[in-house]
Symmetry: C2
């Protein structure tokens, strides 16, 4: 944007919340909130042509969801930041929102003062979210349990880099036969019978 003012748009179906929010935001120094939409469709149609820095997006909208709207708007305009607002945070909508391109994820009961801080954070390249929501995201990084031995994991990592038996053997200073044995054991432990599926499963289970 041209000025220091952060230009905000709101997408929220509840009239009272939307109007109140708009009043508060537009009345705060350094912030402008001239645009507010009650549904995803009108937001998708208008926002691409508006001078907006940050969009506050309600997730539970009638018709198309806020996540859908974020996804579609993101495709067309990369420079806008989206902060999802929701009453309750379930894992699925958190991850869907993030994949759709949301930069922040806040609960609706966030008080206006904090909201302003968070909007500023987003605009400065941060990703505000409550500590609880962060934990859920972090938990998605956790490793469930690793049936593979250290050597097997090493082998699998090299395989995922595209190396073949011989190359893995050379890299690990092993006989190709040993590598083959490791691979067979990997397949057996992961209950797969080829490389492709082994790597897929291993990544999904965060083994490599």
């Amino acid at each position: 944007m041209l000025t220091d003012t952060i230009h905000i748009a709101i997408v929220e179906d509840d009239n009272e919340i939307r109007q109140t929010l708009q009043l508060i935001l537009d009345g705060s120094a350094g912030f402008a909130c001239k645009f507010a939409f009650a549904d995803a469709e009108s937001a998708i149609a208008s926002i691409p042509d508006l001078p907006v820095d940050v969009v506050l997006m309600d997730i539970d909208l009638p018709g198309k969801s806020g996540i859908e709207a974020t996804r579609e708007l993101r495709k067309r305009i990369g420079e806008i930041d989206f902060i999802m607002l929701t009453v309750q945070s379930d894992d699925d909508s958190i991850f869907e929102s993030l994949c759709a391109g949301a930069s922040g994820y806040l609960l609706k009961d966030t008080n206006p003062a904090d909201l302003l801080v968070h909007i500023k954070e987003v605009h400065e390249g941060g990703s505000p979210m409550s500590s609880q929501i962060a934990r859920r995201i972090i938990n998605s990084f956790r490793i469930i349990d690793n049936p593979l031995s250290d050597r097997e994991t090493e082998v699998l990592k090299l395989l995922s880099q595209g190396l073949n038996y011989k190359d893995v053997a050379e890299t690990m200073f092993l006989s190709p036969h040993t590598v083959k044995t490791h691979i067979k054991n990997i397949y057996s432990k992961l209950h797969v019978n080829n490389r492709a599926e082994a790597i897929y499963k291993a990544i999904k289970q965060k083994l490599i």
Copy 2:
């Protein structure tokens, strides 16, 4: 823990930081910090037997890293929360830390008052992290761009399930030749030359 007091341990090699931190934490109401270690090895040896709720773990330790220490301690004790402390945040150490089981990730310049708040948050099931760090994590959910066509993506998904040429062809009602052509195009687009690497790259780029 038995009481309302949150019991903290520090792992930090810088003597001054460690001692200062311990003094501040142990002197704060509701917090106790009776244990501090200067290296990963002694922390790993002692912490499993100590009554500790939250560990503040420096990442850059001499010898074994704080990430390693977290990983090993996590394996043995599930109930302790780890907050990583670091001077600078590079993407790799953030993700490694999360995978190792860290619950929070803070910069060392966090002021003591905030640190206490964050320790409390972790202990209550949250995951405190700066807005900037959160953004990096969130960005890891983004899809960069998908060079693959729909059919190619379909083929790759089936390959990742362990299907071979023939099976993919049957599943998609195609000639095996066509499947082969798709696979060759996939390899070319992803700049790989075998299935393993293709699947690895595709998953890392969230194409499948």
